[in-house]
């Protein structure tokens, strides 16, 4: 068997979980030895291989139709799906939007803000994703591994990746849930 293939992507998150992944510093070289990094936001392949990958990692909540598509494609193409960080695990900060209607939030941003000029309108071009209620990843697709934290500690992410790359399902508990 070759190295396990790993893909990742971000949904409605802040990129902080991917930053925490880079915060493993020089250990990133170890991860690259253990795993074959395929599509990720920092590589140039655009989506997980059509032939499938072993591990799929998603950061961020589901907040629009495009997030749903990305999550579904990742689920179809990966064997083990990891929800990385609070946004993916339970909705996190983006889910605060659910206290308001989508219309209220859009009107505030594109019409009512003090600096918006008279061109203010809610963008609705067909190229754009349509905002939805904000949900956790598992509300849209089945998830195999949950890694909470905002963001999870780099040590925890390293442990999770190293376990997965060696064919084991990581147990995220005890110290691994302690993030500073």
């Amino acid at each position: 068997m070759g190295k396990p293939k790993v893909s990742s992507d971000w949904l409605a998150g802040c990129a902080g979980c991917h930053m925490s992944l880079l915060d493993m510093d020089e250990r990133i070289a170890t991860v690259l030895e253990l795993a074959d990094l395929r599509s990720t936001p920092i590589t140039d392949l655009k989506e997980p291989d059509a032939t499938g990958v072993d591990v799929g990692i998603l950061e961020g909540a589901i907040s629009n139709t495009y997030n749903e598509e990305v999550a579904q494609k990742m689920r179809q193409r990966c064997k083990i799906l990891v929800a990385l960080g609070d946004c993916a695990v339970f909705g996190g900060v983006p889910a605060m939007r659910n206290f308001f209607t989508i219309e209220e939030s859009l009107r505030r941003a594109y019409v009512e803000t003090e600096s918006t000029d008279e061109s203010g309108k809610i963008p609705d071009d067909p190229e754009l994703a349509v905002p939805t209620k904000v949900r956790a990843l598992q509300d849209v697709v089945p998830v195999d591994v949950f890694v909470p934290g905002c963001p999870p500690d780099a040590d925890t992410i390293f442990y999770v990746l190293a376990e997965l790359a060696q064919g084991r399902i990581p147990e995220v508990k005890g110290d691994k849930l302690h993030w500073h």
């Binding site: 802040c14 020089e26 936001p41 590589t43 939007r97 505030r108 000029d117 963008p123």
Partner: protein, 475 residues
């Protein structure tokens, strides 16, 4: 006759998600290329009802690459609302944290995100055109880059307890003083960091010499510029006055950041969730301007640290007496600022007040509104909150760094598409150049998507009725 549309989605090696659609005309030439920022998150609405002191912890979740910018801009807004000017040592410590962030964010962008294009080539195999490919090609350099980012992140960690989403600045000051031991640890990494930044500067200059054609063909256009400066118009990143200059380098305005609404307005286009800020008196689009490293280096007359100032003079000599307009030179400007940030770390650590424990002003003289402005790695970041008598938020307006560059990024995408896609034979390297036009701005689309978010690129072919004929995604 078939009109084509090419879609590049997602744009990679940028922060956040974007999508580019390139519409081709009947003659097979590029008609117009659009940059769609494709996500909306709604921080401006859902922060309503929160307490002002919560904002420095909520708003960093807009962006995990430069969370410190939101953390500090939010705390500065809180200072204004509480009427609590931070004591001098607290301002020094905040600035120190900010310098750590500039180093980690700029350093990562140059080596890990843009580096693969510059060091491996725009036309390199997309499967290896990334940091792993860089590691294979030059392990020693990649390790240096990793250590540079680590040094910056550790400054943040030391002060705020964590690398991403630190807890440090609060309205009126900060919640932790620096110890003598911590000061020594930061100093110990300084010389290596400066050396790595200088290696980066040598790389970009060498690259610029060898790729003069790309640089001159690649998104060169006139705009205004904006950024914070001090009283002598020297570069400022933490505090100062906002200065705007025009396309010839002449000063248009210099004003207190709290008056931003008199000078800046935002235009909305239907095809993007990212708004288009402009200089109000000139209108849209005549009043568009650029921010971030290129904007700031054009907009500042000097830099207060010697090594960076020497580089700034060389940068300015590229177009004597006028602003440098080449989008690819963002990379050079970014490293000049990184050098300044590292040199400034030394100045801050040498300040006699840096170890003081006088770090919090507890005044609570609640004002109805406040504005906090900072130069984030990617440009001017504006937070503006209104509160009720309990300092509970009633409204939030955010203008994020990447927003100011929205027009310029769109223009760069359009101009690079037109320059490189000239016939029916569309190759991956051409599309990667279109992406590189965006990447040069180091956009932070999570930030722009406080109100906005996903930025994918796609080339789609549509007929004249808009029906999709073919979609080319890079794979």
């Amino acid at each position: 006759m078939v009109t084509q549309k090419i879609t590049i989605e997602p744009v990679t090696r940028i922060e956040g998600h974007a999508k580019v659609t390139i519409r081709m005309n009947d003659a097979g030439k590029v008609d117009h290329a659009y940059l769609h920022v494709n996500e909306f998150r709604g921080f401006e609405k859902f922060c309503e009802g929160r307490m002002v002191f919560e904002m420095p912890l909520i708003t960093p979740r807009i962006c995990g690459i430069c969370p410190v910018s939101h953390h500090l801009a939010s705390a500065k807004t809180g200072d204004a609302i509480y009427g609590a000017t931070p004591p001098h040592p607290a301002s020094l410590l905040r600035e120190l944290m900010h310098m750590g962030q500039i180093v980690q964010s700029h350093g990562m962008h140059f080596f890990e995100l843009a580096g693969p294009d510059l060091l491996l080539g725009f036309d390199a195999d997309p499967a290896i055109r990334n940091v792993a490919g860089l590691l294979a090609a030059d392990p020693a350099l990649t390790l240096k880059a990793v250590n540079l980012r680590k040094w910056g992140q550790e400054i943040i960690h030391t002060l705020g307890g964590r690398r991403v989403h630190p807890n440090f600045a609060i309205p009126g000051g900060v919640n932790k003083a620096l110890t003598a031991q911590e000061r020594e640890t930061i100093l110990a990494g300084l010389d290596d960091s400066i050396a790595t930044i200088q290696v980066g500067i040598a790389i970009i200059k060498d690259w610029a010499e060898k790729n003069a054609e790309d640089i001159d063909k690649f998104a060169v256009f006139a705009t205004g510029y904006m950024g914070l400066v001090d009283q002598n118009n020297a570069l400022e990143l933490y505090d100062g006055q906002l200065r705007m200059t025009d396309s010839r380098g002449k000063q248009l305005e210099k004003f207190e950041p709290s008056h931003y609404l008199d000078y800046i307005a935002e235009h909305v286009e239907n095809w993007s969730y990212l708004k288009f800020p402009y200089y109000k008196k000139m209108g849209y689009p005549q009043g568009v301007y650029r921010v971030g490293p290129l904007g700031r280096c054009n907009n500042s007359e000097s830099i207060t640290t010697p090594l960076a100032n020497e580089e700034l003079n060389k940068f300015k000599a590229l177009n004597p007496g006028k602003p440098v307009e080449n989008t690819l030179l963002y990379h050079y400007a970014r490293l000049i600022e990184t050098l300044y940030a590292a040199e400034n770390v030394r100045l801050l650590l040498d300040d006699p007040d840096i170890l003081s424990t006088d770090i919090l002003n507890t005044c609570r003289n609640i004002q109805p509104e406040g504005v906090g402005v900072i130069e984030a790695p990617r440009g001017t970041l504006i937070h503006h909150y209104k509160v009720n008598e309990n300092a509970q938020i009633t409204s939030v307006n955010l203008i994020v760094s990447t927003g100011h560059n929205n027009w310029a990024m769109s223009e760069a995408v359009d101009s690079v598409a037109k320059a490189y896609i000239t016939g029916p034979d569309i190759r991956e390297g051409m599309l990667n150049r279109v992406e590189a036009a965006i990447r040069a701005h180091d956009p932070c689309l999570s930030c722009s998507t406080h109100a906005v978010g996903q930025m994918p690129i796609i080339l789609e072919m549509v007929d004249s009725d808009g029906k999709l004929i073919e979609s080319v995604t890079r794979d």
